[in-house]
Symmetry: C2
Subunit: 272 residues, 2 copies
Amino acid sequence: MNLPFNQRLESACREKSNSLCIGLDINPDQFPEEADRSLAGMEAFGKDVIEATIEFCPVYKPNVAFFERFGSKGYELLEKLVDHIAGRAIVIADAKRGDIGNTSRQYAKAILETMGCDAITLSPYMGRDAIEPFIMNSEKGVFVLALTSNPGAGDLQMLETNSGRVYEHIIKMTLELNTNENAGLVVGATQAEFLEEIRAISPGLPWLIPGVGTQGGNLENALRISNQNGVGIVNISRGILYAGNGSLEAVVHAAQKYTHQIRELLWTPVNC
Amino acid sequence: MNLPFNQRLESACREKSNSLCIGLDINPDQFPEEADRSLAGMEAFGKDVIEATIEFCPVYKPNVAFFERFGSKGYELLEKLVDHIAGRAIVIADAKRGDIGNTSRQYAKAILETMGCDAITLSPYMGRDAIEPFIMNSEKGVFVLALTSNPGAGDLQMLETNSGRVYEHIIKMTLELNTNENAGLVVGATQAEFLEEIRAISPGLPWLIPGVGTQGGNLENALRISNQNGVGIVNISRGILYAGNGSLEAVVHAAQKYTHQIRELLWTPVNC
């Protein structure tokens, strides 16, 4: 009766006519001079950002590292923010987990049940059994790292094997694991020259796209290609949270600016 | 003035004439029928195990997933257990983290500073810049996944490239990153036929070896090969924590049994 994650993601984007994912990498070191840098200040900032954008933003992606940095109190703050979203948007925990089956089952409980996120990012180095426990429940989804946006992406992901590059193997594996319609990929917008080819071999898989904004990837290119054959959502973290003078107004303005760009590219021609 | 991590690890093993790592995968689902399965019960169990084994056990490896499963309260329990060890043994956070540099810096703060662990396990899918923030402080160490003990290890790690298998590239990269003498590898004991070859190409790098016990890897083989050219420590989790009838006596007996085996193989001929 409940829709699988990939359809839930598509519906959330359609409802808000938007493909923006706001990355909640809340870092008090980057707060404006006068701001409250305590956990309470971080909580207020996070809730303010959510309240001011949730009407038009379909997806939030808290980066677990930025909360774990403050230990169990930071972890508790993350739980509060996920609770605060309360089903009004899709929440992807950017956790990049992945371990042997017995351990992955515990991470799946931690992030998708206890914390209640809708999806999680996963690192595929340990293979298939590191991913399977996260996709047992079709309503919850995964985004498996395929070709990432960082300089080190080439160290392993781009290695040529006898049958394609390493990241191509990961895409093939993820396609095979998508029997519950709840698996997707992380594909960095900075990898411009590979996006078309990756879309061709990942039909129907949703993409979570980092690398636009601070990292320099092209929004238009990433959105156009990713949405040719599936859902593509573009994550912006620092480019929204620390925009302009760091005020809430500047944050909302940046989120609206990206939304406007995305709607121009993707939603207006379809809906109007 | 302070020793780099790899030397600290070696000293800890030498001081206790032991190469055992007890994996703190505390899972109340596996507690005996009559045990207290609450967080308080888990805390008491964890502290009891530590107190009863720390005289002879040089390394503990809490598996972060088993704590995150219980949310921020579980995370807090993990902090308490690390505090409880209080420098009396090396603590490796089995977290398998790894992200772009900006995020890895936050994870490094979380695990090595805020939580105060001595080392962390890392997943290398994102390459060099996912590892570097963890090895800036030479006193703290990393164990990079190379060839793991699980069935899915073959999906990616064993892929043949034009210049060796994927895991061989990771080993080469880790060797290059070991300039501060604080990088090591995770090598599964179940990969028996590859251990000699891996030791040959990873001179001096410490190994953290899972896969002995429940997963079926051979202790003697793994210990003998790993210690030929560096430190090799063998992790046992379920085989100790849930040994026999699950009583503390059974746990300690299992830890002593493994210690005895390890000393027979490695320490007695050297020290006597």
